[in-house]
Amino acid sequence: MLKINKTVENGKAFFELEGRLDTVTAPDLENELKASLNDVTELTLDFEKLEYISSAGLRVLLSAQKQMSKQGTMKIVHVNDTIMEIFEVTGFIDILTIQ
């Protein structure tokens, strides 16, 4: 299960994720991002309530990062320890902006 709360205004997009970003749910996030990111220059992903991520979730983050690098900035906030470990072992810690 993944719950996505999004707010998009004045070129700023804020996505709050809750639950699991896995094989089953990653396409939902991908679609929501695709639908929202035109004209966005600041993307924030809030992981406070995100419990779990797998490689399917990482793929969506990388693709969002690639797009945002061209048109603005992207940051991820409130990452828990288990998700941080995944970012570390995959080198994502170096390519994402994590606060």
Partner: protein
Amino acid sequence: MNKITITKSEDGQTVFRDMVMDAIDQNLFSLQSEIESILQAAGCPMKTRWQIRVAVEEIFVNIAHYAYEPEKGKATIRVETSEEHSCAVLVFEDRGIPYNPLAKKDPDITLSAKERKIGGLGIFMTKKLMDEVSYVYDDGRNILTLKKTW
């Protein structure tokens, strides 16, 4: 979840649980939950359970997406736990196309976001999070074994 067969080693130290299920994404969550309860009961700490959870997804989803393509088929998962040795062994079997996921080259994780390719991370993460990952093809079956101690 489909049927689970539970057996014990003669010395009673190791418990084996065998599950057979359709290899489809929709079974992922129940498989992970089942394995999580088994590991918890065996005294496996939360951090390790969580690492195994990720590895289970990567391996199971690979079978679901590629083993029988374009058809669908079954996966057999054996979970072996030993409280005495504080370890778990997970064995994934399918009768699909012979494929050794470990033969694939690791992704270069030092590249920038722009240079990095999307995908190829699942098996790499599994290797990083588990203590041992091995593969054999035997009697028409792909057999992938994960081992993790805590």
